[in-house]
């Protein structure tokens, strides 16, 4: 059991990194990664919402939609549930967990329309449908662990990239690449570095 979870977790963080390998959550990756503090706060909020969204949408999908043959409503139901959930979390945190709200609150509205959260929900379903053995053994807990891994992968990418961008501030960039183009090329190189993890998870846990 622990082995299956470790495989799912590290695949999510490293070999199938959400941002650098699957292109989900690119907007915050490019937009919010300028300062390390903001990048970390945003990532923490994303992890929180991703795991919560998976925990809520999984039973809805299994016991409500699949049972009644309503899979075609997945898109509408999931986005609505996630939007409502984020609102609810914001209200609850504001009232009862003030420190956490101060740390994460400002990022929450942004996350509703972030494709990373809806993406991880669909990705979990796809993995289940694709017959990933680790997922089939533990459908619900495996999905939760995958969401956690995807969120941590998002955080890792944000953290690394924020560091790269801070270093780039003082570099002399060719004029035609200044601004967004050089940021994208830096992202490309960061993405190349993640190829180094290919085969790592299989080697470690199999």
């Amino acid at each position: 059991m622990a082995k299956a979870f470790m495989i799912i977790l590290f695949t999510g963080i490293l070999t199938e990194n959400f941002v650098l390998r699957q292109f989900l959550g690119i907007c915050p990756f490019l937009g919010v990664s300028k300062k390390r503090n903001t990048a970390m706060g945003m990532s923490a909020a994303v992890i929180f919402v991703m795991v919560l969204a998976t925990a809520v949408t999984f039973p809805i999908n299994k016991y409500l939609l699949e049972k009644n043959g309503l899979e075609y409503l997945q898109t509408i139901v999931f986005i609505l549930v996630i939007a409502a959930l984020v609102q609810l979390v914001e209200i609850v945190l504001k009232k009862y967990v003030k420190p956490l709200y101060n740390a994460l609150g400002i990022y929450l509205p942004l996350i509703t329309t972030n494709c990373a959260v809806l993406g991880v929900v669909f990705l979990n379903l796809e993995k289940l449908a694709g017959g990933d053995p680790n997922f089939l053994a533990y459908p619900f807990s495996g999905s939760l662990v995958n969401s956690l891994g995807a969120g941590l992968g998002f955080m890792l990418a944000m953290f690394l990239f924020a560091g790269v961008r801070e270093r780039m501030e003082n570099c002399e960039v060719p004029k035609f690449l200044q601004g967004l183009p050089i940021t994208l090329i830096a992202a490309s190189l960061t993405s190349v570095s993640f190829f180094g993890f290919d085969g790592l998870v299989e080697g470690l846990f199999k």
Partner: protein
């Protein structure tokens, strides 16, 4: 809109001047992920355009009925409904494209071009102008993603739309169809778009301010960023 624009200007602004991908930096996720093959890119472009036109029409028709406070959830429902329709159509008539797009097809819901246009244009303008805006922006998005996919598939796989161009003896630059190649080609295209824009006296595309983001109004980060930049300035 402060100045009155003609229909023709509304239509053509999405091509270059306000190209959603290269100028407004919206819809980056599907652009990077789907541009590995020309057929997938065309499928993505057409699907997103269909959703964009549909949601623009409905949202602008309902713009006086939707209360300002709940407009974002209302927009999301309209968009999700159109995405579901498009999903069913693609599954029924183009299953190969459906397989290529995978999770990115339902993720059109959170494509910021569509919510961005709803918030910036369709929610404030009459139906006809919004329709034209949707068509123009859709064509701009499709053109950008198809152009990128042509570059990536031609150099990265040696083929175009699945038809081999180079003989097998010439190895393609495979990294271009892998994730790093997506960022790289996008960066270069952005540099060229900036160059073209500069010639026309327009500003460079940036993601520094939150102006392009459809959630800017609801988001407190914007205020924080402003306060910080004021301090540093």
């Amino acid at each position: 809109m402060a100045e009155k624009k003609t229909m023709m200007q509304e239509f053509t602004k999405g091509f270059l001047k306000e190209n959603p991908v290269l100028r407004l930096v919206l819809g980056t996720c599907p652009t990077l992920a789907i541009s590995t093959s020309v057929i997938g890119a065309i499928g993505m472009g057409i699907s997103a355009t269909a959703v964009l036109i549909g949601s623009n029409v409905v949202i602008s028709a309902l713009r006086k009925v939707i209360p300002a406070k709940v407009r974002i959830p209302a927009y999301i429902i309209v968009i999700a409904a159109f995405v579901t329709i498009v999903q069913m159509l693609v599954k029924a008539f183009a299953p190969a494209v459906d397989e290529m797009l995978g999770i990115y097809l339902p993720l059109i819901v959170v494509n910021c071009i569509i919510l961005g246009r709803a918030e910036a244009f369709a929610g404030k303008n009459p139906v006809l102008a919004s329709t034209v805006d949707g068509i123009g922006m859709g064509i701009g998005f499709t053109a950008a993603i198809v152009l990128m996919s042509i570059i990536r598939e031609f150099f990265g796989a040696g083929s175009l739309a699945g038809i081999a161009i180079f003989p097998a003896s010439i190895p393609p630059v495979a990294i271009l169809i892998l994730p790093p190649g997506g960022f790289f080609v996008y960066g270069l295209m952005m540099a060229f778009a900036n160059k073209l824009a500069e010639k026309k006296g327009l500003k460079k595309a940036t993601l520094e301010g939150c102006d392009a983001c459809p959630m800017a109004q609801a988001c407190a980060l914007r205020g924080e960023d402003k306060a910080e930049s004021e301090v540093t300035a």
